[in-house]
């Protein structure tokens, strides 16, 4: 195992089950890191690099179906595309050695939160069959899957709270959130708590940097939304990013919407002209993509795997966007794509 894949062994002591405990357990031993990296380099080269022709010249569905497209997405619906992403994550996970799985567990669990959200919404709407379809390709541990497969939503949220509290006490109050404010608040609580708990644990340097940037993006978005809507949408800042929460609170007090532009430049290195809703989010994601793309050039590092996983998510996100926005102005769609 190369040096860039090693991490401290005190991880388990500080974080008893760890995010790995909430992901699929199995006896598959995976393959040597060198093998996995070579396969990922090969697969990464098949992802879409230039999205412009896809936006302006053809429909995404035709392109995915054509022999020209060599990527992993073959489905023609947004849900199918999400399942394709989960399958790809499952493939990468299956190829990893146990130590590499532990390094990437925080990222994979963070991505799987969407599976949890989809399943909770399905339970809420009595669509258990759809929840089963998503869970079939999910990387979540069987204990989590069983909670989300059927039954009452409130009971599922309660069970989730108990299980996630073993990861961190931050998850306390999920069931109360559901009773008082509904699923939206549960989703918000889950995504914030996962970031808080993950950033406090000993992480591989690549994951640490990645989650710091995700927290920055989330904090800036929260600040932006709060500044735009006033007290209606109170900002929640998470510690652990590169931008101090104190600085964010100061900006919130000053009520300076244009300060968001310089914050985005500071966090992502991307300049935007004005703090428009789509521009802010896209600039933050583009900043993370740019960073991972640069780091992913190291052919033997963990960064390569993270860059691939992130780019797979972008592929699905962009294709879903093209699919949903087929009737919209092309310029509008192009501005919202992240690459």
């Amino acid at each position: 195992m190369s040096a860039s894949f090693r991490q401290s062994n005190d991880r388990d002591a500080a974080f008893p089950d760890g995010p790995r405990g909430l992901l699929k357990q199995g006896r598959e031993r995976g393959y040597p890191v060198e093998y996995l990296l070579s396969r990922i380099r090969g697969r990464r080269s098949r992802l879409i690099r230039d999205w412009r022709p896809l936006v302006y010249e053809s429909t995404p569905i035709e392109f995915i179906a054509s022999a020209q497209y060599q990527g992993f997405v073959r489905e023609r619906t947004a849900e199918g595309m999400w399942r394709a992403l989960l399958r790809e994550h499952g493939w990468v996970f299956g190829q990893m050695e146990e130590e590499v799985r532990r390094i990437f567990a925080p990222y994979l669990l963070y991505t799987e939160l969407r599976t949890v959200f989809i399943c909770l919404r399905c339970l809420h709407g009595d669509r258990t069959q759809k929840a089963g379809e998503v869970l079939a390709v999910s990387l979540l541990a069987d204990s989590v899957k069983n909670m989300l497969r059927d039954g009452e939503t409130s009971a599922a949220v309660e069970r989730l709270e108990r299980l996630f509290c073993r990861l961190s006490p931050e998850f306390t109050g999920l069931a109360a959130n559901y009773e008082e404010q509904g699923l939206r608040e549960v989703e918000q609580h889950l995504s914030n708590s996962i970031l808080i708990s993950v950033i406090r644990t000993p992480l591989h340097p690549v994951m640490k940097e990645f989650f710091s940037r995700i927290i920055d993006a989330r904090n800036i978005l929260s600040l932006y939304k709060s500044l735009r809507s006033g007290a209606k949408d109170p900002a929640v800042f998470i510690a652990g990013g590169t931008i101090a929460t104190g600085q964010l609170k100061d900006l919130l007090e000053k009520d300076d919407l244009f300060a968001v532009v310089s914050l985005i430049r500071q966090a992502s290195g991307i300049s935007i002209a004005a703090p428009a809703p789509t521009q802010v989010e896209v600039a933050l994601y583009r900043g993370i993509t740019k960073y991972l793309h640069k780091e992913g050039r190291d052919p033997l590092g963990a960064e390569l795997i993270l860059d691939y996983l992130w780019r797979c998510s972008l592929e699905v996100m962009n294709l879903s966007l093209l699919l949903a926005g087929k009737d919209l102005e092309r310029e509008e769609i192009a501005a919202e794509l992240v690459w």
């Binding site: 393959y31 040597p32 890191v33 060198e34 093998y35 070579s38 380099r41 090969g42 697969r43």
Partner: protein
């Protein structure tokens, strides 16, 4: 006299042993990476075989040096 023979044999053993270990290590890494590459791009078979064989030169040179030590050092 006997000590000299022991030292010569020991040096010859080192001359082939160390490159053999290095070759084994290099081939394990290149082999694993090569297998991954072949799984994704089978058209690169020829290149991968050459890459796996390159570290073999180390042990061949080690063998030559070891033979020279054994038969030329008096």
């Amino acid at each position: 006299m006997n000590l000299e023979k022991v030292l010569i044999a020991f040096c010859a053993a080192l001359a082939i042993g160390i490159p053999a270990i290095a070759t084994a290590w290099a081939q394990s890494k290149i082999g694993a990476a090569g297998a991954g590459t072949l799984a994704e791009k089978p058209e690169l078979t020829g290149t991968i075989i050459i890459l796996v064989a390159i570290p073999e030169t180390m042990v061949i040179l080690g063998f030559v040096v070891s033979t020279m030590i054994l038969f030329t050092v008096k």
